[in-house]
Symmetry: C2
């Protein structure tokens, strides 16, 4: 793994993503790891399936990297998002942000995860115990099934 912003089909190594941003100027690295949770408000998930429009998603992640650099010029960011079938406890996304001082690493990391959910074309299919549903993006509070992928979007 050497690209700072990428989509992968394989399990993500947190350590490798951290290595991408580790550097002599940094005193702080914040990482956010999104994992597959079994229960969401009492409803049981069996597994998830992420699909994406890959080239667009990586472009959007890079664009997010630029946004972060504009806001936190001393930050270095890496984001890896996994797609395909994920089981409970699997890692879906890892964000790592290194900065000289810690406050910035928290803020930029938080910004990154919120923006990923807003702007990156990744769709999640929840396989519940009692059926399944496409969740348009990954937001928990505002799922919009109308955002589900069209066949031509999935590459």
């Amino acid at each position: 793994m050497s690209k700072l912003f990428c989509i992968t089909d394989d399990p993500i190594s947190v350590e490798e993503v951290v290595q991408l941003v580790s550097r002599r100027e940094a005193g702080a690295i914040n990482t956010f790891i999104g994992t597959v949770r079994e229960f969401t408000y009492g409803k049981r998930t069996l597994h998830l399936e992420y699909q994406t429009y890959r080239s667009m998603a990586e472009k959007k992640l890079e664009q997010l990297g630029v946004e972060i650099e504009e806001r936190w010029p001393e930050a270095k960011t890496a984001i890896v998002h996994r797609v395909g079938r994920l089981d409970i406890e699997d890692v879906a996304v890892v964000i790592a942000v290194s900065t000289p001082h810690r406050a910035d690493s928290y803020e930029a990391s938080r910004y990154a995860i919120e923006r990923i959910k807003e702007m990156v074309p990744i769709w999640k299919k929840e396989h519940w115990e009692d059926g399944d549903a496409w969740i348009g993006d990954q937001t928990e509070t505002n799922p919009y099934p109308e955002g589900a992928p069209q066949k031509e979007d999935l590459k």
Copy 2:
């Protein structure tokens, strides 16, 4: 590594600390990694040396775990702090907090690092290019050399 709160002389594996808090109930894991920075406000560090009163430090880390549990009952926390000589870019501390939803993981992780610097007896000796100095705690803004370790504190 199996203890949730510990002091170690060895390099810290971020992946292992994350594993300690990974679980089916979690959808989010925030980690904070404190690393040795080369330059602090223009002053160059060659390496650092951390010393601790080990049993007391581990007790304090466990106490911090209880504080976090009181504030974020759904959080699971692990904290590993390294002591001894650390070179530039080495990892000094890893905090991992897993929670069902992401906002709590950020907040609890941030709380943890601030409290570590306030309450855990770990002293840092900065070996600068032009000399060295004990920093009473690890805060960057309020070093208090009078907090430097006494011989009998270091075990």
